[in-house]
Amino acid sequence: MNGTRALALHLGVLALLLALHFLAPSYHHTNIARIMVLAIYAMGYNIAFGYTGLLSLGHALLFGAGLYGAGLLVYHADAHATLALIAGVLAGGALAFAVGLLALRTAGVAFMIVTLMFAQAGYLTILYFGSYTRGDEGIVIPRAARMLGSLDLSDDGTRYLVALTLFAIALLCNLALVRSPFGRVMVAMRENEERSRMLGYNPFTVKLAALTVSGLYSGLSGAAYGLMFGYVGAGLASVQYSILPMLYVLLGGAGTVLGPFLGALLMFYLIDYASSVTDAHQFVTGAALVLLVLFAPKGILGTIRARAGARGAEWLP
């Protein structure tokens, strides 16, 4: 009874994305590939924020770890892109673990500021080592270095399918995670930390584990982003990129597996549209943040799930 519906829904979304590979016009094709990669980042953010209740303002550090972990390896060490991708994932996870060891001694507002500061330090570090990273200007990764085995990531079609594959893996792992016993504990920690402690769970280790998984996702997204789109720049590790996944997650629905993707999709096209009619697209981001916290703190899927009552959770874990 339980689980099959949710699985069907998520597989359906993946099937739809596969169909779009053949149907979508070139412009949207590229956009959706980008959105899927960014959605992996947002999923990672959601594991920390949506499920475990850790509101971080510094995830750009973890995205940047993947981005630069992979980018610097292929650019300076001529590493194989596959190896670089794995290195990027691990860099995200390791940095999340290290930051968590310190930041998780705080909670709430202090946690937000500590993560913000760490991310800022990371961003400045990228600028400081400008001779390797080329700072704000960034590194363009040559086409020859963007080969995932025999797959050429600079080819539009290949890139889409690789993005879809990574996205599918991330999505299904996310689904499995939140329905596992550990997923239940993450939510318990978000709902009532004191209660969870008195059921025998160590809040620190639970949160550290969740944050590390979140870091692995962010690292994967960053690494894939750099390799697929061939650019690695400090702007992608700036504070804007900490706000971005938060925005996606808030819009799509915090604590839902599909929410990050839906939020990324809508926000991407909203900003894309806004940029085409005015140059005030930052306004859209700001207004979206304010309106969401004011009027729809659960986001789209969170609201739908709440309306659907007990059945909601069967479809949208």
């Binding site: 303002l57 507002v109 400045l124 005030a280 207004a287």
Partner: protein, 293 residues
């Protein structure tokens, strides 16, 4: 230049930084202390003050000193009014729930920066100083205006202190800080106090910006550094403690002046942000506060 005069110059520059920083950070500290709100848009209010000062300089005829005087009064009022509006329209509706409030002020930051970009443009624009006096020291000349900035900051901060300690408004603010519900029960209009405090915090940032803009130029992205530095100062000084904030501003401002004269500013910033993070982790009461729990 020899080392001694060089250091003196660095210290004087640091003093100016410290003065402006103390003003900006005390606004942030005030808002956090009384409302428990972490205002991420504080830097945007600072920027708004500077940008408005430029507009004032364009519109007010006569010598620069007149326009400057008008700006010093009008800009903080406008910025304060915008802040009060944001408080009533947004923060109050969120019931000042800490995390939602932070997200909302991030949104506010984007909106204000966009507004400045659209109305003011992407360029940095200078605002003339009200006067140009150079003090000739034995080793170098120094801008008299910069010293006036220090004096003005001290006067404003004294004013804030007087308001908080010796007026009814200050009493009401402190009562609200201690216990919002009790204050309300005693007939204090807490909503008005909050709007007022938020406006005052933003206004202080705007005053700081008007003072600095003849030295620094107005730009729509200029709020980032003051925000970061204010955070650093407020946290090192102990969240919500005004006295700690002032001490920390002096410390950071002076060392910033000295450090960035001798070291790469990026490295200094990296170290500063890391120090702040570690202070929050290991000494959340700040370096100068005492632990209350």
């Amino acid at each position: 230049m020899e080392f001694g005069p060089f250091l003196l110059l660095a210290l004087m520059e640091g003093l100016v930084t410290a003065a402006v920083l103390a003003l900006t950070a005390s606004g942030l500290s005030l808002v956090f202390g009384i409302m428990r709100v972490v205002n991420v848009a504080h830097g945007a209010f600072f920027m708004l003050g500077a940008v408005l000062a430029w507009f004032t300089a364009q519109w007010v005829p006569g010598p620069p000193a007149v326009a400057f005087a008008v700006a010093l009064i009008v800009c903080p009022l406008i910025v304060g009014a915008i802040a009060a509006l944001a408080d009533t329209a947004i923060l109050k509706r969120l019931n000042y729930e800490p995390e939602a409030t932070i997200v909302a002020t991030i949104g506010l930051l984007y909106i204000l920066e966009q507004a400045a970009l659209s109305l003011f443009g992407p360029d940095a624009r200078p605002v003339p100083a009200p006067f140009n006096i150079r003090l000739q020291l034995p080793w170098f000349g120094y801008s008299g205006y910069k010293l006036a900035v220090v004096a003005a900051a001290i006067i404003v901060l004294l004013g804030v202190w007087l308001i908080l300690k010796h007026t009814r408004a200050g009493l009401v603010m402190r009562a609200t800080q201690i216990d919002r519900d009790t204050a309300r029960a005693f007939g204090i209009n807490v909503d008005r106090v909050y709007a007022g405090v938020f406006a005052m915090g933003a206004g202080l940032a705007a005053i700081a910006a008007v003072l600095i803009v003849p030295i620094q130029q107005a730009h729509y992205l200029m709020g980032g550094d003051p925000l970061l530095l204010s955070f650093i100062v407020v946290i090192i000084g102990g969240l919500g403690s005004l006295r700690g904030t002032l001490v920390a501003a002096l410390l950071i401002g002076l060392s910033d002046g000295v450090i960035s004269t001798f070291f790469a500013p990026t490295l200094a910033k990296i170290i500063a942000t890391l120090v702040v993070a570690l202070v929050l982790v290991f000494r959340p009461q700040g370096l100068f506060g005492t632990r209350t729990t």
